[in-house]
């Protein structure tokens, strides 16, 4: 009986639950080489209107996490487990048709490469109109008017003319603006931006980030920003989740991440950002080695093979090669997946971050 009550309790809207809550998300792909564990036990939550940055290297599972939230992973043949709560509704248990109705309406996504993310054969206006009419019963003329307004709103000059342009007639920055216009056209509550500036020129990058931030303010959108660039994060995110080999290894408010990061991997990421205030003779400090194969993840800490500090873990705390660390709270809103004792981590953190600022 208790089990039944629990199930019923889950299905109902719970007021305490944050706007977006991902619980124990896991994604697997069956390949010819074996099962790829692309996402493993990822949990995070996000209040309405806030921005979460998911940071990690290529292949760390950050894009797959985002696409799992959008319900796009199943179409690619992935197996998704765990719970995804959006505004009181659990998404992973919904039918494909139900998720499809939410996609593009309640939640929208923009992608890394605007060059290839728009259909090359259709006019951009028609592609936006298609997004409107997929979710709302409006006439074609009204939809087109709305699309034009949105194109102006995202800063496309001469939008009256450009609305009939094909994607190949626009620059990369313009295309990403079109993608943003298309994503926001149905006023989604959640916007996932998957490396939205990676493929763009640096000057355009700043414009696009500024545009996303402005629109987020106007529409009150909740944003997940996926990036491998910690420099982007500082400006836009409220919270940062660092992913490594399919797992979140550290999660904290943005300033906490920059000034008190504790996980050796996060410290490595921070150390590898090029900085103007570093001496020219100083070399960048890359993390040695490569991420593990997603088919053969190490049984213990996934970062151990590349970690400089694993030998400092005392016997009593466990062994990095065999014991898998949990993501545990370590201060306000800060959680870390590491076997090092908290004091040792803080010590290492201070040393590394101070040397980065040139004070060591």
């Amino acid at each position: 009986m208790i089990g039944v009550e629990e199930v019923e309790g889950r299905a109902q809207h719970s007021p305490e639950r944050p706007f977006l809550s991902v619980e124990n998300l896991a994604v697997q792909f069956k390949t010819e080489d074996g099962i790829v564990q692309a996402v493993d036990g990822v949990s995070f939550s996000l209040e309405r209107g806030k921005t979460l940055a998911i940071v990690g290297e290529s292949g760390s599972g950050k894009s797959v996490t985002a696409q799992a939230v959008m319900g796009l992973v199943k179409a690619m043949g992935g197996i998704v487990s765990g719970e995804i709560w959006l505004d009181g509704q659990e998404l992973n248990g919904l039918s494909p048709a139900e998720v499809q109705a939410l996609r593009g309406a309640e939640m929208a996504m923009i992608f890394q490469d605007p060059m290839s993310s728009l259909h090359p054969f259709y006019r951009i206006g028609d592609q936006i109109v298609e997004a409107i009419m997929a979710h709302r019963k409006v006439g074609k003329g009204a939809a087109r008017k709305e699309a034009l307004e949105m194109l102006k709103h995202v800063g496309i000059p001469a939008a009256e003319r450009r609305i009939d342009a094909f994607p190949h007639q626009l620059s990369g920055g313009m295309r990403q603006r079109v993608m943003i216009a298309m994503a926001l056209i149905n006023s989604p509550q959640l916007l996932i931006a998957d490396e939205p500036t990676t493929a763009l020129d640096v000057t355009v990058q700043a414009q696009i980030l500024e545009l996303i931030r402005r629109l987020q303010g106007e529409f009150g959108t909740t944003v997940i920003m996926i990036t491998h660039d910690l420099g982007v994060v500082a400006d836009v995110a409220d919270d940062v989740a660092v992913m490594y080999a399919a797992r979140i290894v550290e999660q904290a408010p943005t300033s906490e991440t920059y000034y008190h990061a504790q996980m050796p991997y996060t410290l490595g990421l921070l150390a590898s950002i090029p900085r103007m205030d570093r001496g020219q003779q100083d070399r960048l400090d890359p993390i040695p080695g490569n991420p593990p194969s997603p088919i053969h993840l190490p049984p213990g800490c996934v970062f151990q093979p590349r970690c400089k500090y694993w030998e400092q873990v005392p016997e009593s705390a466990g062994h990095c090669k065999t014991d898998r660390p949990e993501l545990l709270a370590s201060g306000a809103g800060h959680s870390v997946r590491c076997l090092l004792p908290t004091d040792a981590r803080r010590q290492i953190s201070q040393e590394v971050l101070q040397s980065l600022r040139g004070e060591g």
Partner: protein, 330 residues
């Protein structure tokens, strides 16, 4: 775009000219001596030489070619200095002395048969090939896909004379489901026409459908990996729209190319299928002409068929522009 079309038409005209030159001289260099073929073994050299003059083969090849091309544009007269001159009006593709008929008349008589054969076969295989190809792509790796691809492999491997003979043997002779094929035009006797054509259509479609199934499957699967398909799904479009409007449209270009050229090739005659079903089309006409060394007919059919292919190439290139705006507005 207009400039592009003009350029294409000009180059097409040039190509057609080169084509007449090649075809004409290729066939006139053949070892067969048409003059000798006009009478039997007992012919005296005098008669052969007379016939050579009569066939206008005793003048230099260049002049023969001039008359041939002249005939296409202005018409020409054969056997001028005999009591019964033969008027061949423009466009005159030549005269078959073996069959005592103008080549164009022979072609015009055979063309509708081949036309109906090709069109029906084309529609059948495109329908089957595209739909099963899409189904196959959507069920990739599952048993439906494997079954379809297995059928495609078998269809692709069977030669059309085998399929044709098996169909005739079972459907017509053994099970008596259809009467023996006898050509008639659809306006004269539609029932008879359909009864005659259904097996030839199936025979032709089997081979081509197998190819188009695989082509369509590959195209759809390739396009499925594109970012804009993910965008289409992220917009919340139904999977049906994603497949038919976004994926198929993008993967259509190679299918259009192959379809245009295959259809054009088939309009030049399906030699094996026409022969098996005794259809008096261009394929039967050309095989008959080859066996009888009827040079004017061979030249005429080759010219018409090659022109069709050149024309189809133009149509295909113009269709690219319809399908892909990157070609149209650059």
């Amino acid at each position: 775009m207009a400039g592009y079309v003009v350029r294409r038409v000009v180059s097409m005209t040039l190509l057609l000219f080169l084509l007449t030159l090649t075809v004409f001289f290729l066939f006139n260099m053949m070892p067969a001596d048409p003059a000798r073929l006009t009478c039997g073994k007992a012919c005296s050299p005098a008669i052969i030489e007379a016939n050579r003059h009569h066939l206008e083969l005793d003048i230099p090849p260049i002049e023969q070619y001039q008359r041939f091309v002249g005939g296409i544009f202005f018409g020409r007269t054969f056997s001028k200095d005999t009591p019964r001159p033969i008027e061949c009006e423009a466009p005159c593709l030549g005269y078959s002395f073996l069959r005592n008929t103008e080549v164009l008349t022979l072609i015009a008589r055979a063309a509708p048969v081949t036309f109906w054969l090709a069109i029906g076969g084309f529609l059948t295989w495109m329908l089957i090939g595209l739909s099963l190809g899409i189904v196959s792509a959507l069920t990739r790796g599952r048993w439906v896909d494997r079954t379809i691809m297995g059928i495609a492999l078998v269809g692709y491997s069977l030669p059309s004379f085998f399929i044709g003979l098996v169909l005739i043997f079972f459907v017509i002779l053994d099970w008596n489901l259809l009467p023996f094929p006898q050509w008639t035009t659809p306006d004269k006797d539609l029932g008879r026409f359909l009864q005659t054509m259904i097996l030839p259509w199936i025979t032709i479609a089997t081979l081509y459908a197998a190819f188009y199934m695989r082509l369509t499957r590959n195209q759809v699967l390739e396009v499925f990996g594109e970012d804009y398909i993910r965008t289409a799904r992220a917009k919340g479009l139904p999977e049906r729209v994603v497949v038919l409007k976004h994926a198929l449209r993008a993967g259509l270009t190679p299918i259009v190319t192959a379809a245009g050229l295959d259809l054009a090739g088939l309009l030049g005659g399906a030699i094996i299928t026409e022969n098996i079903y005794s259809l008096p089309g261009l394929g039967s006409l050309s095989i008959g002409a080859v066996l009888a060394s009827d040079l004017p007919v061979i030249t005429g059919i080759t010219l018409v068929t090659a022109s069709l292919i050149i024309f189809a190439n133009l149509v295909v290139d113009l269709l690219y522009a319809v399908v892909d705006p990157r070609v149209r507005v650059g």
